[in-house]
Amino acid sequence: MRGIMLVLLNRLIITIFISIFSISSFAEEMNTNYLKTKWSFKGVFGTFDRASLQRGYQVYQEVCAGCHSVQHLSYRNLSEKGGPEFSVEEAKAIAAQFEVEDGPNSDGEMFMRPGRLSDKFVKPYPNVEASTAANGGAYPPDMSVLAKARAGGADYIYSLLLGYEEAPEGFELDEGVYYNKYMPGNKIKMSAPLMDGIVEYADGTEATTAQMSKDVTAFLVWAAEPHLEAQHRMGFKAIIYLFVLLTLVYMSKQKVWSRFGSKEEPEEETFDRAERVVTKYEGEDPKTFK
């Protein structure tokens, strides 16, 4: 029985692996060897690099925010733990740079006021239609969960930002459409958004295209998953705890089961009985049964 069980177990493990592979191969169907870079937030202990997130916010604000909204982020998120961790004063100052429509006031009028921490990020356009119309018929997607909404995630966004090239010979491009190596179909309506030095980093980091791409991608990953660090921390603790618990439970289970086992016949007798059964069929000749 035990032998059969092991074979079964092996087969099951193999089949599960095959199926997981087929699932993941499907998930990464579009994966076309994205550019690789080291992400600090990947892995079991992954955390964000604060400075990189702060720079990423700057790139977002100065370059992307003209067209792309991040409507699910609030200004308060900028100062919260696990994010760029701007000080509360800095975050307040950032929020105050924006005009937010509020109201109606006691006269029934809508009015504009400076942004507060509790406000959502101000959108560049009032609605999807306005945004589409202003961008040549292509809607610049909201970037709140962009890192989760694209196969390849961070690697894809990073590669896309660095993937602008001259279109190959004979590749037809319409007016206002650009060639990008990593865009599915290779046609993109966004012109290359980054070029060296387009942003002057407050912390003095050299603003190369690669650096800015990396920073803004990290920012977008955080925007999509603001509790990522808490998630990793809790996951690590939970799994360690479960392993300890599993060990204890398994030991108790063995102990409990041994109570039952002790009532059974000793090893010797089992052997004798087995031999008797086989002898019944093989006759008295003991040579065949060793």
Binding site: M1, S24, V145, L242, A274
Partner: protein, 427 residues
């Protein structure tokens, strides 16, 4: 178990004679289980855990979710960002669905392997198939609630299937939608049903367990055990401890997904808000529905596809009568055992094909796999029951031949030699 249980204290006796809750808990505690149950038998308990987890996290999510096409997507982001541990609840719920199906597939294939659907356990099996069907409906409707692109288009594709029904199809689809397309009325009714069905599943699980407790558990040898002998052990603490051990291993895998790969099993497109004007390049359901999706698309006609898809599940209801072999466990069915693994491979292949576009080699393969799936149940099983030469069965589950590796083979050889072709039983 065998003698009637009488509570100790007078009050308990008074209460128990009016509502026998104490007798019930005594029964559950003492319920005799075969001592040779292996870890594949722990998935019943694991599935109960999955359902309870889904209900608890689901109720909490329901407090924050807004079932409206304008707010559903946003409310999910609200849960993920602003609700305390909302991200945890949602990731446990979303991955919990996948783990639920992983466990249920193992549970079903365990039943297939060890012949647990055979007399006298047909009713348990059929209730199980109904639970599985309800689970698929619940999971499908749950996937619609975030109102992402896959939610919307998945709902559109699946509800459109009903339009294939002759004459009344269009009306049924309109009735399901509550309008002329998937829209707010569809979302709100899916939400209501998604909340309701788990409780129906819960009720059916009680029936499933009740029906199980009449004949008792099957076991890896498929031989009936003698109850209340040293062949069985009380459910508590023996099986409880074993179930908890297996459950913890399961939770570790579950949590690995929740904390370190929470979106690995979902589709990225579902993080794009539903847009009726933009169709995704590939509309694919969640992984656990893919085998049926492959069958649906393998059939050239729409109505035919729908019929075959539902038949693929319904054929399981007939299984206890399609498999005519008297021997339950495939441990003693050398030929069925091989076909069993071919079936497992076929279902996984169908799952893989369900994720691929229905064209070229994928379409050819999914037609072959679909045909094989039905042949397995409708042709192979009845034939095997008649012609398969099964291995000799041990006398009981404590037959010593079962404990020593290699003995079984010797035993079979010896038996074949002395009993010729009539080998059926060693009694």
């Amino acid at each position: 178990m065998s003698e009637k249980y009488i509570p100790k204290s007078k009050f308990a006796q008074w209460f128990d004679s009016r509502l026998p809750l104490l007798s019930l808990s005594h029964h559950l505690k003492e319920y005799p289980t075969p001592k040779n149950l292996n870890y594949w038998w722990t998935f019943g308990g694991i599935l109960t855990f999955c359902l309870i987890t889904q209900i608890v996290t689901g109720v909490i999510l329901g407090m924050h979710y807004v079932a409206h096409t304008d707010h559903a997507f946003e409310s999910i982001e609200h849960i993920m960002r602003d609700v305390n541990y909302g991200w945890l609840m949602r990731y446990v719920h979303a991955n919990g669905a996948s783990m639920f199906f992983l466990a249920v597939y193992i549970h079903i294939f365990r039943g297939l392997f060890y012949g647990s659907y055979k007399a006298p356990r047909e009713v348990i099996w059929i209730i199980g198939v109904i639970i599985y069907l309800l689970m698929m409906a619940t999971a499908f409707m749950g996937y619609v609630l975030p109102w992402g692109q896959m939610s919307f288009w998945g709902a559109t594709v699946i509800t459109n299937l009903f339009s294939a029904i002759p004459l009344v199809g269009e009306s049924i689809t309109t009735w399901l939608w509550g309008g002329y397309s998937v829209d707010n009325p569809t979302l709100t009714r899916f939400y209501a049903l998604h909340y309701l069905l788990p409780f129906l599943i819960f009720g059916l699980i009680i029936l499933h367990i009740w029906a199980l407790h009449v004949p008792g558990n099957n076991n890896p040898t498929g031989i009936d055990v003698k109850k209340n002998t040293n062949e069985t052990m009380p459910f508590h603490p023996y099986m409880v401890m074993k179930d908890i051990t297996a459950l913890l291993v399961f939770i570790i895998i579950f949590f690995w997904f929740v904390f370190f790969a929470p979106n690995a099993l979902g589709h990225p497109d579902n993080y794009i808000e539903a847009n009726p004007l933009v169709t995704p390049t590939h509309i694919v359901p969640e992984w656990y529905l893919l085998p049926f999706y492959a069958i649906l698309r393998a059939i050239p006609s729409k109505l035919g596809g729908v019929i075959f898809m539902f038949a693929a599940i319904f054929v399981l209801v007939l299984l206890p009568w399609l498999d005519t072999s008297k021997v339950r466990s495939s441990v003693f069915r050398p030929i069925y055992r091989k076909f069993f693994w071919v079936l497992v491979g076929t279902v996984i292949l169908l799952g893989y094909l369900g994720a691929k576009p229905p064209e070229g080699i994928y379409l050819v393969l999914s037609r072959i796999a679909t045909a094989y799936y039905f042949i397995h149940f409708l042709v192979l099983l009845p034939l095997l029951g008649r012609y398969e030469k099964t291995d000799p069965l041990p006398i009981s589950i404590s037959d010593p031949v079962l404990n020593k590796p290699g003995f079984v083979d010797k035993f079979k050889k010896a038996a074949a030699q002395y009993e010729g072709d009539n080998v059926g039983s060693f009694k």
